[in-house]
Amino acid sequence: MVDRIDEAWIARGVRRAPFSRFLLWAAPWAALLLLGAYAIFLCLRDGLFHTNMDNRYVFGLWIFLDLTVIALGAGAFFTGFLLYVLRKTELKAVINSAVVIGLVCYSGAVLILAVDVGQPLRAWFTFYHPNVHSMLTEVTFCITCYLTVLLIEYVPVFLKNRRLKWKPSMLVFEYHLHKVMVVFALIGTLLSFFHQGSLGGLFGVLRGRPFAFREGLLIWPSTFFLFVLSAMAVGPSFVALTTGLAEKITGRRLVKNEVYQTLGRISGKLLLAYVFFKCLDTLLWINQTAPERGFPAHRFYEYGGAFGTWILFAEIALLGLVPALILLKPEWRARRGLLLGAAAMACLGVTLNRFVFTIQTLALPTMPFDRLLLYWPSWQEFAAFGFVVAYGMLVYSFSYRYLTLFPQERELAMTEARR
């Protein structure tokens, strides 16, 4: 009986696991969520000494997480842009899923940011007394606005729940909201563009940190544009990857193969462009930017170990160029395993890039008599990280179960049945 308790909420024509199985799936995530909530509570009540961050590692696991999920969450804005503005209609099959991923990533990031700052009660100062020359102000404004936009984009997906849809007013609102979605897609693109960029700029402007500092174009350092490009490149890959994972976990076909191909193709092209510009930027940095500020670039990699030159190679060649080539060659892309593998590599590459900019920048000493410092997060940091992951998994799982994340699923289920 328990298994059928929520049947009336599940859309017609799709199959979902029995409720008890769903609970079994959700329980560990809920447990992780609770643990994370406890860690967050500790940090908010007592202060940030619960973390292993310190005066050198002022940004730790959390900021790295923020930068990473926001880069990956770019799939939401970029898929919306492709669908609504460039009219890639086949992407309709994943837009809802992309919106949920974006929402999860951005809200998770905002949540963890609120824990990460020392005085969360003063978060509104940034809006009320902004310093517009700070990249962080740009980040704060854009992330908040874009989260609002994502929430609005999520509303129609949510209202399409079978039970909610039964109320005509909900359905009507969903319909009208959907009709103006192109506005949100455009605004979201603008916001996300600036937001990704200013996250890149965040480190690029640090003129006291020659490892991260980059020359500028207009008022933004080159990392501004590289972050945007890299986020656009891996966004579709991440959407493909999550869709692939959802298919694996649920054991159902959710989207048609052409969707994967489109995502892979776009991702591959952009990734190649990113790798090109990243190489250009790196060369410029090695030969001009860093030496000009008194730091020959080879000094940054002298410490070896975790921060040796391999990290540069892995970031650009292994996790940039290789997946780009795989995604660009139609025969390779056609193989699902290769495609998803390449997508995963691309995601890892951008993750590594964000790691380099947050953690490596802070690890390297600037003062000649200082030394390389390493950092390992405390359990509270891991638990809060787990909180965001669990929160994302739960929101996505609930959305998948009760909302229509993949409109093609019903059709595919029927085609499958016919076979």
């Binding site: 059928r4 017609r12 609002t148 936009v149 009507v172 319909y175 949100f184 019903r410 085609t415």
Partner: protein
């Protein structure tokens, strides 16, 4: 943020930054408000039904959206792009030549598909309702045999009160059984006069002035459609209904709903009544 708050400076940077921010905020808020206002207007104009069918049709699979002429084989594979309203469809008009011809295509007699009766004296709607013109010029609207068998004896159909407006393809009735609810679409434009007196039909309807039957199925077309529907249903339920199939000479059970589990019944209702 505002000129009277500390930290504000009158320079280009501030004006551009805050200008962009306020523009974005205004556009977002304005767009949401516009959507709210339009929803409000839609509700006031009682156009929810139209919206409903519009969004529901979007969600139908190509299989479900197949053109009636593709079902009969007149046309190769084709999907309907007019939300099953053939009244303005050029292809439909070309194939039928005229509305008049269409009216005469309906005849009398009884056909059946795999045991489901398809009386030929009426027009069929793709949501498994039919329309028959009574002698007095009013219309009788009822559930077809498949719909009836699906709901069976336990099922009820909630009909709108007298005076309610019906519009083609908009939800008109609500079928209920075993806690499953399904919307049944109206086959005609008109005003409900009240429940039908004969047992077969659900309501009696006064047709709207420009009442036409172009969009409804009739005659052999209806039989072909019914076969297509049964096929669809069978495929969708195949996983649970076992090996016996209509193609092997099986027949649709009299009280189909009872044979199905709640979940299957739910799926079947969605398929039959186009309520996704």
């Amino acid at each position: 943020m505002f000129p009277w708050v500390y930290g504000f400076e009158w320079n280009a940077g501030y004006l551009i930054f805050l200008g962009v921010f306020f523009t974005v905020a205004l556009v977002v808020a304005g767009t949401v408000l516009a959507a709210l206002w339009r929803s409000f207007r839609t509700v006031r104009k009682k156009q929810e039904g139209r919206v409903y069918w519009h969004t529901a049709f979007e969600e139908l699979t190509p299989e479900e959206r197949r053109c009636r002429h593709a079902i009969t084989g007149e046309l190769p594979e084709r999907c309907c792009d007019r939300e099953f309203d053939c009244r303005g469809c050029r292809i439909h008009a070309r194939l039928l030549y005229s509305d008049e011809a269409a009216a005469h295509a309906a005849g009398s007699g009884q056909a059946e598909a795999c045991g489901v009766a398809v009386p030929l004296d009426r027009y069929y709607h793709r949501g498994h309702t039919w329309v028959r013109e009574a002698e007095d010029g009013t219309l009788l609207v009822g559930l077809d045999d498949l719909g009836r068998r699906l709901l069976g004896a336990d099922g009820t159909v909630e009909t709108p009160p007298a005076g309610a407006e019906l519009r083609v393809n908009e939800p008109a009735f609500v079928a209920r059984r075993n806690g499953v609810e399904a919307r049944i679409l109206s086959p005609v434009d008109g005003t409900v006069l009240g429940p039908a007196s004969d047992g077969e039909a659900l309501v009696r309807v006064r047709p709207a002035e420009d009442f036409r039957t172009t969009h409804l199925l009739r005659g052999g077309e209806a039989v072909a459609w019914m076969r297509h529907e049964l096929d669809r249903l069978q495929v969708a339920l195949a996983a649970s209904c076992g090996a016996a199939s209509l193609a092997d000479g099986g027949a649709v059970a009299e009280d189909l709903g009872r044979r199905l589990t709640a979940r299957e019944f739910d799926t079947a209702c969605g398929l039959a009544f186009l309520d996704v």
